[in-house]
Symmetry: C2
Subunit: 419 residues, 2 copies
């Protein structure tokens, strides 16, 4: 029987140990791939983007109206309008051929290019078209009023997006504005998922008493996609040291895999081969065994020949919570993604009843959210930790931090949402 | 020149008009498709899921220890332990053959199946293995303590997930637990994107003065993906009524398309063919023209022969904000998705400076988020509305509601995050 030394670590400590042990430079050496901009949403930039042009690149009207010299409008009002010579109309998308002289105006639409000599636009509603050659102006404008100047949106040679940026719709739009048809992004990490346990059967089977269907392949596979990675389904491995060793050896040697998740087999018990196999696979070996969190204590982080293996608890609920709070953070590192607000979706609510925890570990309390009298309440979901239904019922979870003993009824809490 | 009657509607009113005019029953008639569970993440259920089995389906131990009859442990303590006959060990995944008698115990692991006659599990740490035939118990257990009963997680014939449910990782896990290899989900809506304007050029071209690259195809395409739909890139159409009519007619007749977005051409100006074309396409025609929001006022919602067309402003920033606040809500309807917390990602912050609006419309103020002294601040992003860079700089936006005139420095605001 294996009797490993549980040296329980906090999440912070564990991530620090991982970051100190993992060699990021060679990992990121060949991770850039070029893709077409139309596929860029949700990817992570592998290069800084420096603008090669001014945007809009010309002085552009932001209103429908008349392009003028601002000085010709000074003092103009309803009672004392200015009268300007109307010398034409600027068609969209065309470079105006005229040069605007003092005392002149040209008709312009939103998005149109100002002619040389014009420095502002008077909105249509403050003008009156008197004849094909004259327009009345009843409001003065300041220089560059209602105009987007040629370099006002983006100035040439400016770093507009940073390497490591997660590309949102508008970031893709910015790249389109600058004409980046193709961009370099980091490859999506490929994450292998292995379920272990003699009792685990594939979901197309009917369980005999004592058996359970393979839930973790599905929850973890979906969570891997949600985190922007590609799942690699390695299947179910029986509680057999040789078979596990063979499978992990194959994963170690497969250059396509960036991270290997093994669920089950990590609690102190007769089935605990995972730890031994991971220590055998290559240096430096097991970095962390045991996390100060609940559920999720029997977690293993192992680095073997610079390939990362994470042993997760077998219970689907525990495996999911460790994924959300530990694996996801490691995945952000492997994606090369820099921080952004919105990486995690949270919402504030009032806690409906007291929840308690032992100090010295983080504990996750699943909650449902309910609106009552215009106030959002977080209601702890009852149910033993092995219950997948409790996770499906929950909208999210509340975290009792390391040094807290509990959270109290009526307290404002931050709920981490599952979706 | 077209002079349409702008009858400005609130978002609420517009959605109500859309929902009253759109015929959902035929739309959803053939929208279910069967997919494999492994691809179910992020999809929307097209059927209620009723459990056909009890889960776990057997009385399962939630601890490593000894399965016993609780009554045999009553009164047991460190000073007065109970001694039970050890009659074997339950192997994982196997149905125990023994029938537990009074005064007996069997060794069991987490996840193991309790034998007939056992009704509780004593944790390993409260026991001592004395000999192959005897175990000492130093703590009493209640009936069903440390046991997940056969129908405690999921009871047979219970509705566990509802039609319209967005499938999160744990929901996929629940379906795996129940053995649903294949499920019925709604087809992803296909959304056509058309950019209009003589000044718009494809992004592989270098703009001449007066021209701009086609940003909206990229921002809207990404936003459509983010909303869980499939973009259909219809390309750029010049400011030409015949060409626009032909393109929209093709979209109308294409049964693959569920929604058509047309950006540009919706402001009151010389280019305003969109409204005329949409009224010509078929009944009931234009439902809404003009929304009480900023940016985004010149928006058109049109229903033609039960196909939905939405005319968005040409400015990328305006188009994005209307997408986020109007189109996304319509898309949820077309996806058949019922409400869930987390459909929209928000975060609370304090506002760094005053912002003002006219009453009677909703206004969106783009903000950056910054942590200062442990407090999150929302800092309004300056810049004219046509600037794509202002949208890329922003982490999200603050909404000044219809009946508000402004928000004040230091006020707590809810920031809608872009990602």
């Amino acid at each position: 029987m294996v009797q490993p030394l549980f040296k329980v670590r906090t999440i912070e400590e564990s991530l620090k140990i991982f970051r100190q042990s993992f060699d990021f430079t060679p990992f990121f050496k060949n991770r850039a791939e070029q893709i077409e901009l139309i596929h860029a949403f949700g990817r992570v930039l592998a290069e800084d983007i420096v603008s090669a042009e001014n945007i809009p690149g010309f002085n552009r009207s932001t209103m429908d109206g008349y392009a003028v010299k601002a000085s010709d409008t000074f003092g103009a009002s309803d009672s004392l309008p200015a009268y300007l010579d109307l010398v034409g109309e600027i068609r969209m998308s065309e470079k105006p051929s005229c040069q605007l002289q003092a005392g002149q105006a040209v008709r312009i639409s939103t998005g149109g290019m100002l002619p040389e000599g014009a420095d502002s636009v008077v909105m249509l509603e403050y003008t009156e078209y008197l004849s094909p050659t004259m327009v009345e102006i009843s409001r003065s404008v300041a220089t560059w009023e209602n105009v987007l100047r040629e370099d006002e949106d983006i100035r040439k040679n400016t770093k507009v997006l940073e390497k490591g940026r997660y590309l949102r719709p508008q970031d893709v739009g910015l790249l389109a504005a600058l004409g980046w048809e193709k961009i370099k992004v980091f490859k999506k990490p490929v994450v292998a998922i292995i379920s272990t346990g003699d009792e685990i059967i594939s979901i197309d089977n009917k369980p005999e008493p004592g058996q359970v269907r393979d839930i973790n392949t599905y929850t973890l596979g979906a969570a891997v996609k949600q985190a922007g990675c590609i799942p690699y389904y390695a299947g179910i491995i029986k509680d057999n040291e040789e078979m596990l060793k063979n499978e992990l050896q194959k994963c170690l040697e497969n250059p396509e895999l960036d991270l290997v998740l093994i669920s089950g087999g990590s609690s102190v018990g007769t089935r605990d081969y995972t730890l031994e196999v991971l220590d055998y696979l290559g240096l430096p070996g097991v970095l962390v065994h045991g996390l100060a969190l609940k559920p999720g204590k029997p977690t293993i982080i192992s680095l073997n020949k610079q390939k990362l293996f994470i042993g997760l608890p077998g219970h689907p609920v525990s495996a999911m919570m460790v994924f959300d709070n530990v694996v996801r953070k490691i995945i952000f590192d492997l994606k090369g993604e820099i921080f952004r607000f919105g990486q995690k979706n949270t919402i504030d609510a009032l806690l409906e009843s007291n929840v308690f925890s032992d100090a010295g570990r983080e504990e996750y309390i699943r909650v449902m959210l309910k609106n009552k009298n215009g106030q959002l309440w977080a209601i702890p979901v009852l149910g033993k930790s092995g219950m997948i239904s409790s996770l499906a019922t929950a909208d999210g979870y509340v975290t009792i931090k390391l040094n807290q003993e509990g959270l109290y009824q009526g307290e404002k809490v931050s709920v981490t949402l599952f979706a």
